[in-house]
């Protein structure tokens, strides 16, 4: 086994956690694995951001805006420098296989956090056609496909400007870029790679709620 990031051979150390278990296939070596930072300790109940407060100031602000459409967001990793590199290589330079790095953690945390949500539909955040053609795959779809419940592409995207090139103000003030192709009357979990300001997810959530969806949460790999 070789590390998907640094290409060194992976030597799995034996510890109390895996002594009696069959060997797992690993995607990262211990050193690279160690550079990924999980969100641990106290976090914002609403958006998963590392925070000493129960509800972070960001979410407090969101709750002052019209009505809150997103019930909650859950994320796994902190957006540190190493994660930025991985995401860049995966998303922008098309190293599709890197999704495996998060596969296990993404599934495990989903079971723990959303396991009891039966009869819920996953809705990946779509890319615009131009973006999809450029990248070759939709990272949100790739993530959603790893999860055990059904996923429906209910949304399409009209604009093609990259969110990551905009400022916070521009993002929040921007108009809703999504169109809904089908209605849904079940609870939905939006899936995306990263929660930055929460605007994109709220745009999608708003649309879903307007079209009969009773509750919308979101599950993202990273809390930016």
């Amino acid at each position: 086994m070789y590390c998907l990031w640094c290409d060194q051979e992976i030597i799995s150390s034996v510890n109390w956690g895996n002594l009696m278990l069959p060997p797992r296939s690993l995607t990262l070596c211990e050193e690279c694995e160690g550079k990924l930072e999980r969100i641990t300790g106290s976090r914002c109940e609403k958006c998963s951001r590392k925070s000493a407060e129960q509800i972070c100031s960001d979410c407090q602000w969101w709750s002052t805006q019209k009505r809150e459409v997103l019930a909650k967001n859950h994320s796994i990793y902190v957006y540190n420098a190493f994660m930025k590199e991985i995401i860049a290589k995966w998303k922008y330079r098309g190293d599709y296989v890197l999704k495996k790095v998060f596969e296990e953690a993404f599934l495990e945390a989903f079971r723990k956090e959303f396991g009891k949500y039966k009869d819920t539909v996953l809705v990946p955040i779509p890319l615009s056609d131009a973006r999809l053609a450029e990248r070759g795959f939709n990272q949100a779809e790739a993530l959603a496909r790893q999860l055990p419940i059904q996923s429906k592409n209910l949304l399409t995207r009209t604009d093609s400007e990259k969110q990551s090139k905009k400022s916070r103000k521009q993002r929040i003030a921007g108009k809703n870029p999504f169109i809904m192709t089908e209605t849904l009357n079940k609870p939905a979990i939006l899936v995306d790679d990263i929660y930055t300001t929460g605007t994109t997810l709220r745009h999608a959530a708003e649309l879903l709620r307007q079209n009969g969806c009773p509750k919308v949460s979101s599950y993202t790999l990273i809390r930016g």
Binding site: Q8, N15, W16, P22
Partner: protein, 715 residues
Amino acid sequence: MVLLLASAFLCFFLLYIPKIHDLSPVFSEESFPEQTFNGQIIGPIEESSSRIQFTLKDTPSNKTYLILYFKNDTTEIARYPHLRTGATCKFQGIPERPDPSTNPGEFDFRNYLASKKITYQVYLESLQEITCTGQNLLHRFYTLRKNITTYLDKRVSTGTSSWMKGLVLGDDSAIEEETIELFQRWSLSHLLAISGLHVGLFVGFLYLVFIKFNVLTKEKAQWLILFILPGYAVVAGGEPSIWRASMMVVCFVILRKLNSTFNYTDVLSFVFISFVILNPYLVYQVGFQLSFLVTFGLLLSQRWIATSNSLIVQGFKISFVAQMMILPMLLHHFYTFQPLSILVNTLIVPYFSLLVIPSMFMFVIVSPFPIIQVLDKIFLMAQNLLLTFLHFLDKHFNYPWTIDGMSIEAVAVYYMLVIWFMYFVQLKHNLKAFFSGTLITVLISYFAAIPYFSSYGIITMLDIGQGDAYVVELPYRRGVFLIDAGAGVTFPERIPTNSKYKKIIQPYLKSRGITKLDAIIVTHKDVDHSGSVNYLAGEYKTDMIIVSDYYEIEQASKDLWAQENIAVHHVKQGDQINVGGQILHVMAPNKDKGSPNENSIVLLTEFGGQSWLFTGDIGREEEKEFINTYEHLSIDVLKVAHHGSSSSSDETFLEQIEPAFALISAGRNNRYGHPTEEVIAGLEKVGAMILRTDKDGAVQFVFNREAGTFYKFLP
């Protein structure tokens, strides 16, 4: 596939590792004829104040022998320049079987030697009768070790040199026995065994010198270490722990050189398997077992230990894992476990590894310079402080668990629980970890509590040679008491020694988990009956000591007993002694006979529905008085008076009391000829079954309310 491989490995090891218990007669009457030995000296020549010993591999028979030479006295300066490791030697001698243990709990020298592949020993009359030629490379290493030892003795005080020798050369023979026992009680002995810690420091130090001072390139320094480490292992005593540590380093260096990747547990397994294949007997050595278990546990815990940033917490975790890993071994070999030792280790281990051990290595290097005198004094002061602290702990916080080992099934369950426990601990599932931790505690507590739930009592006639020591453990641990606790004496000075106590009485009490004595009954004042009483009184919480009205207690004992808050009772004929509900009737003495033997306390009691008579060392006259006073008394079990001497066991006495069993405690081949043929004949005539320590070793009577059975320790 994995299971198949695992069972194949298991089978291989089960078949490969030889059993060391042999079934040959324990003490055979016949001795072996004198024979010629011709072979090579393997291992170092070891010299102590009383003897010189080495092992020799006899070429014709391909057997290994332990060769011993006892000095005539401690002042004898032995000359043996011809005895060198690797030399080929020739001599005449009589092979003997080494002594097995004859008491429960006693160290078994025969098994110990067997674990080193030695089944016979040979005593040399003089060192000159053996002719040797040649030597090998090992001899140079052993000579180096010896020369460093002698040099250190010259340069620094005895106190400091004993620690330097212990921590750098792995020779703890000069460290005071009291200190070694103190370290043992607090599970600190691993500091005295050269292991990973020392090897790590040694390698680190070499690296520093070679690389920081630009003596060698990194590459060359690594090669050099490859060659130096095995040498250091030999010079530092060659115990399994140091070989384990240095071989692991050697493997790491080689793997690095080959550009191979590896994980630590694989290297440990590889070293383990190679050791066992090279010398299967190693698995029986305590040091080998502890070293590998602790290392394995610590490697598995690396990740868990690294999750804490505080050095103190890390130290605590290390001590904790180490103790958890070896607990069943500690109970099996030493019968005790000190829960508080985990905390003590957390304190002492960093002190040793960061200060003491590095300074010991440094002292060796600076020993030629005058500054060593100053360092010597500072070190002694620090070390005294440490020992004072440990003695303080030992006095006020000494709460060991004493358990006579766990059954093999329980050990398996224990390790399963530990793995389970550590799994949850590592994953931080605190509740589940707490639950499995509780199960571990319950398991251990069960073994600690067994004696308190047992409806069986045990009376043990310990084999302390020529002398008496009976330990009575009542059912449900209602009471534990001794009738006599003799000691050996030196010849010809006849000074009492603590060896019987240390080697036989104390290990037995430990093995039974006894920490408190309800009473010690001393029948009379002779050393072979009373010599170990004060050792017991000093170490065990003792409620009372019972002696006869005519027993004169010397001042030293009086002071000690008063200091330890022990009540002293004097008894005479007609009195009753009650220990934990067990009533003992005092049948004698009723007047002062003017000599200790004749003034012996005679006790009548009942165990397991049998009447027992303990007679101390009374003579024929007292026996006659006994049958005159108690005319119709018959006895089931008689402790034969005076080790079976003809001055006791009068025919009329034996005929009247008609014992079914006769217990005789006499030394093997004792100089008095006890028990005499006359006494044996008398006992046989009345149909008594004779149980004697010189033939049977310790004899135990296991009883409940109605009945009991005798067991001999030796088959």
